[in-house]
């Protein structure tokens, strides 16, 4: 237990130092910013997939809800930025609450159901009749609150918070009950665990993570469109990064994001054709030989992965 606490503290400190120094060492601040955003999204997917087995293809719906939440609170209700960001996260929680009946589904049905649900949210937001509230398909301009430096550190705080949340879940009785539910819901229920309540709780926590990331993303870029914040690629990246590193661990989504998003930025922009090839090959090799992710290599050697 003490060793777990130490390794968790080290992870948080390393992440904090890495992303505080990154803008000083790397000229393009948006790269580390987006890496933090995807890392947090991957931790959000990790909360849901790693501990309950639900794979949310429509995860981007919560991200987009957070971005539009902050825009509505700032532009229509004239909230100041930080409360609006938290409110944006809560927008996503409300959407997740409305979509919680999806948790009755399992496996591919849940994944497809969540994807369809995120499309519904996208079409509601981008509907021209919603122009008075969401600006419809014409995009949002938050130039009045544009502040890339503060929003950069806000994203870092959210990353650290949700990494700590994953640490808590992984080492708590609550997390163990989720793993029991994932393995065998009936057996878990027979131990007196309220299966529905726990599934909903982690679903809302996961949505809150994506909502906050979306809200801070909206603040950081300040101009965005429905198609950019409800882009399915965001879901796919978050899921692939989690699976690549290894779900159900603290380190997996971090490693997955660093390797794959790092690769994306190294050759994905300059040589997209080679990137797609290498990316595809990596994923095929991973699925075939390391279905539990990169961190399972350590587990196989008896090393405890935080």
């Amino acid at each position: 237990m003490r060793r777990n606490k130490l390794s968790n503290a080290i992870i948080l400190v390393v992440l904090a130092v890495l992303f505080i120094l990154a803008p000083l060492l790397y000229p393009n601040q948006s790269v580390p910013f987006q890496m933090m955003a995807f890392m947090t999204l991957a931790q959000g997917v990790n909360l849901l997939y790693g501990f309950t087995g639900y794979l949310p293809f429509g995860y981007v719906g919560f991200f987009g809800s957070g971005a539009y939440g902050v825009s509505i609170l700032v532009l229509l209700l004239h909230w100041s930025v930080i409360p609006a960001v938290i409110g944006g996260g809560l927008f996503a929680v409300v959407v997740a609450l409305l979509l919680s009946p999806l948790l009755r589904l399992s496996g591919a049905y849940f994944s497809i159901g969540s994807l369809a649900a995120s499309e519904i949210v996208y079409y509601v937001v981008s509907n021209p009749n919603m122009q008075n509230i969401t600006q419809g398909p014409y995009g949002v301009n938050l130039a009045g609150i544009y502040d890339p430096n503060t929003s950069y550190y806000a994203m870092l705080v959210i990353l650290l918070i949700f990494t700590a949340v994953v640490m808590y879940v992984k080492n708590s009785t609550f997390g163990m009950s989720l793993l029991a539910i994932k393995e065998d819901p009936v057996s878990a229920a027979m131990a007196g665990i309220n299966v529905v309540r726990r599934r909903v709780a982690i679903w809302l926590a996961s949505a809150f993570a994506a909502g906050l990331v979306g809200a801070v993303y909206g603040w950081y870029v300040s101009v965005f469109y429905p198609s950019s914040v409800f882009d399915l690629t965001i879901s796919i990246f978050a899921i692939v990064f989690t699976l690549f590193g290894g779900g159900g661990t603290v380190l997996g989504p971090i490693v997955g994001t660093i390797v794959l998003y790092g690769l994306y930025n190294t050759i994905g922009v300059s040589s997209p054709q080679y990137f797609q090839l290498i990316y595809g090959l990596l994923i095929v090799v991973l699925v075939m030989f390391l279905p539990q992710g990169l961190t399972s290599l350590l587990k196989r050697r008896g090393i405890n992965v935080p």
């Binding site: 009785t173 163990m176 009950s177 793993l179 029991a180 994932k182 393995e183 065998d184 009936v186 057996s187 878990a188 229920a189 027979m190 131990a191 007196g192 665990i193 309220n194």
Partner: protein, 248 residues
């Protein structure tokens, strides 16, 4: 006599588990027909019946995995038939299904899940009790349940069921898939914890469990065809009827 004394006396006179006139089934298919059973404090009650008699359906109904269509279930005098599973478990029922353990979790995690409702200190002391009773589990506590043999898994399942400090342990075919040696061990385990005041309701096909039965019910095609002691059962043809369909 004070009100508290009177309440305590009433509590001691009511059955620990009282099931009356229960009807249930799956979708439109009725499996149990007007079933009534009871378990007194400190009793070991065995429900015998062949495959398909409705034993598992009965136990699932008791713990809340199946709804009660008609009838009532009282635990310690309190109606529980509309309570959620976790509420029933927290009132002192523990259920050991045929599977019983979470294969992907370690032995220690399974025990922690078993004692989920206990405060952390109580859970720790109860785990120590379980490790004393099941020393093999202590040795392998960091290993996953999937690495255990069938018999060891059953032992873990029993320990997990006992972790919540239940008043009544409901067991679904604890002898299923076990060698005679392990069956004997499960029986001695039931005896040991019965001596500590725990009541047992055990659904079985294996008549070896009659050795420890205080009372027996025989279930056939969803209906109770016998209630009584083991001696009374031996003087009755209910077992032949239930197992061989023989009607004398």
């Amino acid at each position: 006599m004070t009100g508290t004394d009177q309440q305590a006396q009433v509590k001691n006179t009511v059955s620990l588990l009282d099931v009356s006139g229960v009807k249930t089934g799956y979708d439109d298919l009725q499996i149990l027909w007007d079933l009534s059973i009871n378990v007194q404090r400190g009793e070991r009650v065995i429900v015998l019946g062949a495959n398909g008699a409705g034993k598992t359906t009965l136990l699932k109904t008791l713990v809340g995995l199946l709804p009660v269509w008609e009838g009532a279930i009282h635990l310690n005098g309190e109606p529980v038939q509309t309570l959620r599973i976790d509420k029933r478990i927290s009132r002192g029922i523990s259920y050991l299904s045929e599977v019983g353990v979470v294969a992907g979790l370690t032995i220690e995690e399974n025990l922690r899940i078993g004692g989920y409702h206990l405060a952390s200190g109580a859970a720790r002391s109860q785990m120590a009790v379980m490790y004393d009773s099941f020393p093999d589990l202590k040795v392998r506590r960091r290993e996953t349940a999937s690495s255990l043999s069938g018999g060891q898994r059953k032992m873990l399942a029993v320990a997990k069921a006992l972790m919540s400090r239940p008043r009544l342990v409901i067991m679904d075919e604890p002898s299923a898939g076990l060698s005679p040696l392990f069956v004997t061990e499960v029986i001695s385990m039931v005896n040991r914890f019965h001596d500590d005041g725990i009541s047992f309701l055990i659904a079985e096909q294996n008549v070896k469990f009659l050795e420890i039965a205080d009372r027996v019910y025989v279930l056939d095609a969803g209906r109770m065809i016998f209630t009584g002691t083991v001696e009374e059962l031996h003087r009755n043809d209910a077992l032949e009827r239930a197992y061989f369909g023989v009607y004398g």
